[in-house]
Amino acid sequence: AMAGIGALSGNKPDNTAFTQQRLPAWQPLLSAGTALPLFFCAGLACLAVGLGLHFSSDTIRELELDYTGAPGSGHNCSRCANASLAGAGGCTCSLRFELPERFPGPVCLYYQLSNYYQNHRRYSVSRDDRQLSGDASGLSNPATECSPFRTDPRGIPIAPCGAIANSLFNDTFALYHLANGTFYPVPLDNRGISWWTDSNIKFSNPELINGSLETAFKGTTKPPNWPHAAYMLDMGNLNNTGFINEDFIVWMRTAALPTFRKLYRRVHEGNFSSGLPQGTYRLDITYNYPVLSFQGTKKVIFSTVSWMGGKNPFLGIVYLIFGSACILTGFVMLAVHIKFQKQNQMDVE
């Protein structure tokens, strides 16, 4: 409650446009006359965009290979899947597949997991960005959010700590193209698969000590699920090891939905710079990552990309539908409008 507005101002109120609520104002009225062209224009524009999107999406080639190897599926990788259930890693299996048509380059190689909740809150908070930025104190004293993967039972801090890092996807793929009866390896490029700002600014290795990353990581231990320490992620390549390993960075960007794909490699080098030719291929998989325990699936996806990214029919279709709806409404309104006008005319007569 407040007292006496206006009581204080005994003198005459100001005669300004604002105080008298007479500010000059634009008073638009969305009448049928203005709305009709608007609807037609918007509808046509949407149809155009929709068609563009639709054809772009159509030209994108995509091939999905499920290699989960669920028991009883008779899949080549079933053996490895069973082994992974038993906790053993390092099993390899191969997939042979045909490319029915040429995939123009660059071709992206994705892996896709399903029923995998990277967006689970407990999971997605379980990381320490300070540690991942190479902060020394982060190495020696990881954030509490990393728990239960903060320290090992002996109390030695884990680097990188947390559940996300611990569950790093560790299947590896090698691709071979059958030409003239022999399988030739297809070069897979692992550079530039993560966001530039991530691999150059947000993620950074601890400062080297005597030129050695291993020494820099001294006093920490590897995550329990990892076969070896972070600095050994890409031995010999100082630009892609430790926290700035691009596979690691891609993994650390948690997915939005429980079924997600992540960029693994790109094919754009050597003989395959123009894409993957039609023909037979073999994919050698090192099957380490267990997904059967949570009823997940694993896929490898070959996909070309366009200006709109990967294949996504949804956007084009919705644009087409919405565009048609706009035009349809436009017509309906036109009909109503004309009818009303006629009626008015008749009334006048």
Partner: protein, 1089 residues
């Protein structure tokens, strides 16, 4: 609260009942009696609420007593204690902001009060002690001190007026700061002490004063002074309000006065009157609370659903704890029940943004800032009194747009109060000057004095107890004024006893004809009665005057009786009334006066407009029925074709069958009305074609018969019949009302079926009770006094201003605030719904969809200013149209924009948009590689896309609703969107050292590099707004169609002929015939509509 502080400062004070004895100058009455110092509170005024020490705890306590603040505090505490998805900052920051701002505002106000208190308490006053003047701080004054006050000084406490520098013991006082009345009032010193004009004289006075304990009524005081002189019997004199000088009023035109302090500090009448009025809650506020409950239910059910589903989902062990996402030790160790409870609280916290803190802030701000437009309105500024409208409370702005059923007003306020010219000097010394002005609060008296002058009798004023009149022969006659019994509404008359220079005693009595006629000799009445009735019919206010000569013995007898009654501390008025009652008999009728009540300018148009706006107008007046009736005709409350139903004493007759007759009449009228308004008239209820208008006239005594019947058998039944009759009539006139009856009627209507919103308007002190009782009380800043304006929620200078106040301001405020409220709920529903839906895709893990910064800033920064600007500036229909077409007011009647239907519409809209936002982005993310280089987006990009669509959609939705785009609207709408984009870049552009996780780092920048995302955002905004656009277009098409039929408003006849000064009867009749013609002209036009 206030009572509490009194107790604090006046500890040890006896109860408020009973009397107190004050020893003037602290002198004991006699040598023998030991002087016992009585304990009264000191003269310190404490209006401040806080001290430096208790400010923080007390202010916080009071703020958190508000249910909303408390709710947010609880949410904040839950966030602090329980491991919740969002940081406590997200809800703590807005709450902190609100609390701090409020605390600063209240602190500042209290500091101002402290300063004002200090100024008052430390001001210097002069006290007479031992025949010497001692300078003291005002706060040091004790009860019993003799205080000297000089001209233009403010009285430091309530004083009994002992002596003034004037011989006649009179002083003039203005009470402008007390009750706002700026005219001078005359106060009289105690008769026996008027001679004590120096410090020495006054010091010789030995007296005690007995008076009642402090009471808040400014106009009531009873006391007795006993003056002791050596070797003499003590003299007792009565004290009344005319002897009491109130703290806060100012001495004028008098050199100095002496007074003795009787009430000090917090016991002064001013301090007792300083208290907050009871809070009136508007219908909008009630709607908000109802909606809040709905949203609270939505919130709780959302949290319950999520918690339940979470545990169902988790019943699969591989969902509960897959190998990659193991539980912490703490989580494992917690009991299941406790964990469920924590989960529930976490979901509550996650979804609590659906009830935003900022809504309260925005609503308060809208009300506060919005009310300035009322005060600023120059059309409601009156040149005559140099004042504009006054807003005493901003809580009811929107209620002005809701006054639906009843509008009460007092007939008098329709009339110009008689011009009283205030002389520059009012000290009564202008006797010899040509131009003499008589000051009176009663227009009748002025008319009488003026009329008498016309016939050669000039009233020259009074000197001490004598009044001087110059008669036709230019001789000066002197009358001694002996006793006065003032006018009161119960007696409806006033009497004086005077002594002529020849020694005769005369009693003069003036009053309403009903109270005079029975007291005069029968044979004299006849002719006057005819005159009175004719005058009353013509709309004049009539008064009868009678006199009686008293014999010496008679006078002596009643003089003794009156003196005795005057000494009484209790029921003084009643006792005096009884004595006068006895002598006011067998008087001789002198004649009658008739004063024309000129209608205030545009009163008739205003009433007509209000009726057209669907308001029912009731006139409550103390006037005679005939007078009131003709006023009603003149103000077009009754039209010539209005059929009048009368429930008056005349109709009842004098017999004992009064009540039965009343019941018969009630039933008859009821039947009549039922025939006219058949049952199926529901649809046509507010249609334009009213076949027959009815008006009801009822007087005070009949009303009390209905409201307080003698036997309560079927009384309530008749009461409800009466109410039904009232509600069916277009206008109701209640005449001969006592002030309390007015309030009684307001209450009756307020509580009737459908709980109509009532508005009372009045200008006099006797309207205060009904102004306070009604939903909205409006005071007219009349000349008669400021009490009505002071106790009202809004005050306007003239009756005609009501039109703009209700039709334009009220309408606009209602539309604005209703839209504000609906929009707030809507925007928070579509804000939180995607977050709720996301739970289905993240294992019900309370993962927030949006970043904490977005959660916090959404309501504070990104979407707050556009709606605030809208709610202050929007004019969906411009003010001129609103003022000139009262029918528009009906559109928003019955709280139309805040009913469940529009609420459901907004809620559905919010839900639809929330679904579009979430599932649009969900399907887009079926393939999360949205950049042209194949890189993928994560969950924060998902949330940011949803949020971007959300911010743009809700802002553009408001833009669609905005009908009145000033540069400010443009600035805040486009500015908010630009700010959102700018902020997002900024927020994601820096590694923030204080954040644990750099979730948003370059998320927004990456998002805008993706063409697909752009296209998706644009598409989703379009889809969300599509139904709204369609609706607007169709609405406008319909409106346009409707507008093609041109409608002319009935031309309102201006009452020029009545405004031209004193009209003769002829002119008045002209006006009435004029009016009838117009009425006939108008009807076909109305039916066309």
């Amino acid at each position: 609260m206030f009572r509490w502080s009194i107790n604090r400062f006046c500890a040890g004070e006896e109860k408020r009942v009973g009397t107190r004895t004050v020893f003037v100058g602290h002198r004991p009455v006699s040598e023998t009696d030991a002087y016992v110092e009585q304990k009264f509170c000191d003269n310190r005024i404490v209006s401040s609420k806080y001290t430096v020490w208790n400010f923080l705890p007390k202010n916080l306590f009071e703020q958190f007593r508000r249910i909303a603040n408390f709710y947010f505090l609880i949410i904040f505490l839950v966030q602090v204690i329980v491991d919740t998805p969002t940081s406590p900052v997200t809800s703590g920051l807005p709450l902190f902001f609100v609390i701090i701002v409020t605390a600063i505002k209240q602190g500042y106000e209290d500091w101002l009060r402290h300063r004002a208190d200090k100024e008052v308490n430390k001001s210097s006053v002069f006290i007479v002690e031992n025949a010497k003047q001692v300078k003291k701080h005002s706060e040091k004054i004790k009860v019993g001190d003799i205080v000297e006050v000089k001209a233009d000084e403010t009285f430091p406490c309530d004083l009994i007026f002992l002596a003034s520098s004037n011989d006649d013991g009179i002083c003039y006082v203005t009470t402008a700061s007390l009750d706002g009345e700026s005219n001078f009032k005359t106060h009289y010193a105690v008769r026996d002490t008027t001679g004590l004009r120096t410090d020495d004289d006054i010091d010789s006075l030995t007296a005690t004063i007995e008076c009642e304990q402090p009471q808040p009524d400014l106009y009531k005081f009873v006391g007795r002074i006993n003056i002791y002189r050596s070797n003499q019997e003590p003299v007792a004199r009565s004290l009344g309000p005319e002897n009491l000088l109130l703290k806060g009023s100012t001495l004028k035109n008098t050199k100095k006065i002496y007074g003795v302090a009787v009430y000090t500090g917090m016991e002064t009448k001013m301090a007792l009157n300083y208290q907050g009025k009871s809070q009136k809650r508007s219908a909008v506020e009630k709607s908000i609370n109802a909606f809040l409950i709905v949203y609270l239910c939505i919130l709780v059910s959302k949290a319950t659903v999520c918690t339940t589903l979470k545990y169902i989902w988790q019943s699969n062990p591989f969902n509960d704890e897959p190998w990659y996402n193991q539980k912490t030790i703490k989580e494992r160790d917690t009991f299941q029940i406790l964990r469920m409870f924590t989960d529930f609280l976490s979901f509550m916290v996650l979804f609590n943004f659906i009830i935003p803190v900022s809504m309260y802030v925005t609503v308060e701000m809208q009300k506060f800032l919005g009310s300035f437009f009322i005060a600023w309105d120059k059309e409601m500024y009156d040149e005559e009194i140099k004042e504009g409208a006054l807003v005493n409370t901003s809580d009811l702005n929107e209620e002005l747009g809701q006054c639906r059923e009843e509008l009460f007003l007092r007939a008098l306020c329709l009339c110009h109060t008689v011009q009283i010219k205030e002389g520059d000097n009012v000290d009564g010394l202008r006797v010899n000057q040509e131009r003499w002005t008589y000051i009176s609060s009663s227009p009748d008296e002025i008319a009488l004095v003026k009329g008498a002058k016309k016939y050669g009798f000039t009233f020259l004023g009074h000197e001490a107890d004598y009044m001087k009149v110059q008669n036709q022969k230019n001789e000066i006659e002197k009358y001694q004024l002996l006793h006065v019994l003032n006018f009161d509404p119960v007696r409806r008359r006033m009497s004086v006893v005077v002594k002529t220079s020849t020694g005769k005693f005369l009693l003069f009595c003036k009053g309403a004809d009903s109270s005079i006629f029975p007291r005069v000799q029968r044979d004299e009445i006849q002719q006057t009665k005819v005159h009175v009735e004719r005058n009353a019919m013509d709309g004049y206010r009539t008064l009868c005057v009678a006199f009686k000569e008293l014999t010496q013995e008679d006078y002596k007898k009643i003089n003794d009786q009156l003196s005795e009654a005057k000494m009484a501390l209790q029921d003084r008025e009643e006792k005096m009334a009884r004595i006068f009652d006895d002598i006011e008999a067998d008087m001789h009728l002198i004649g009658a006066t008739a004063v024309e009540d000129r209608l205030q300018e545009h009163a008739a148009e205003t009433i007509e407009a209000l009726q057209t706006a669907g308001m029912k107008v009731w006139v409550l007046t103390g006037d005679k029925m005939e007078t009131a009736k003709s006023t009603c005709y003149a103000s077009r409350l009754f039209q010539t074709n209005t059929e009048l139903l009368e429930l008056t004493t005349k109709m009842m007759g004098d017999s004992d069958r009064k009540e039965e007759r009343l019941h018969e009449l009630l039933l008859e009228y009821h039947k009549k009305l039922l025939q006219d308004f058949p049952q199926n008239s529901g649809k046509l209820k507010r249609s334009w074609t009213v076949s027959q208008e009815y008006g009801l006239i009822i007087d005070g005594s009949t009303l009390s018969l209905i409201l307080n019947p003698s036997q309560d058998s079927s009384s309530s039944n008749y009461k409800s019949i009466f109410l039904q009759i009232c509600l069916k009539c277009t206008s109701v006139l209640c005449c001969r009302m006592a002030p309390l009856q007015k309030a009684q009627i307001v209450r009756m209507v307020k509580n009737s079926k459908g709980n109509p919103i009532t508005l009372s308007i009045g200008d006099g002190a006797n309207d205060v009770s009904m102004i306070l009782e009604a939903h909205v009380g409006i005071g007219i800043k009349g000349k008669e006094g400021r009490q009505a304006a002071r106790n009202s929620d809004y005050a306007v200078p003239k009756f005609k201003h009501l039109r703009k106040l209700l039709l334009a301001h009220g309408h606009l405020y209602y539309v604005r605030i209703a839209h504000l409220v609906q929009y707030f709920f809507y925007k928070n529903l579509c804000f939180i719904l995607p977050q709720f839906l996301y739970q289905f895709f993240c294992g019900f893990s309370q993962q927030p969809l949006y970043d904490a910064a977005y959660l916090t800033m959404y309501n504070i920064c990104f979407t707050s200013l556009p709606i605030l600007a809208y709610s202050l500036l929007e004019q969906h229909i411009n003010i001129e149209t609103l003022t000139s077409d009262p029918r528009l007011y009906m559109k928003i009647s019955d709280n139309a924009m805040l009913q469940w239907k529009p609420f459901l519409y907004w809620t559905c809209l919010g839900a639809f948009e929330g679904l579009v936002f979430f599932f649009g982005v969900y399907f887009l993310f079926q393939n999360s590689s949205l950049e042209d280089n194949g890189k993928v987006f994560g969950n924060w990009t998902f949330g940011t896309i949803v949020f971007t669509v959300l911010v743009f959609t809700v802002t553009l939705k408001l833009a669609l609703d905005t009908r009145f785009w000033t540069w400010m609207n443009h600035f805040v709408i486009w500015g908010s969107l630009a700010f959102y984009v700018f902020f997002s870049f900024f927020w994601g552009g820096i590694i923030w050292p204080f954040l644990k996780q750099q979730r948003m780092y370059f998320v927004f920048a990456h998002m805008v590099t993706s063409v697909s995302t752009w296209l998706a955002i644009v598409l989703l905004i379009f889809i969300s707004l599509f139904p709204e656009i369609l609706l607007v277009v169709f609405k406008n098409a319909k409106r346009k169609n409707y507008q093609t039929v041109p409608f002319n408003l009935p031309m309102l006849l201006s009452y020029k002929s009545m405004e031209n000064g004193y009209t003769s009867e002829m002119k008045l009749e002209d006006a009435v015939t004029n009016l009838t013609q117009r009425c006939h002209l108008r009807i076909p036009q109305m039916q066309q509509l």
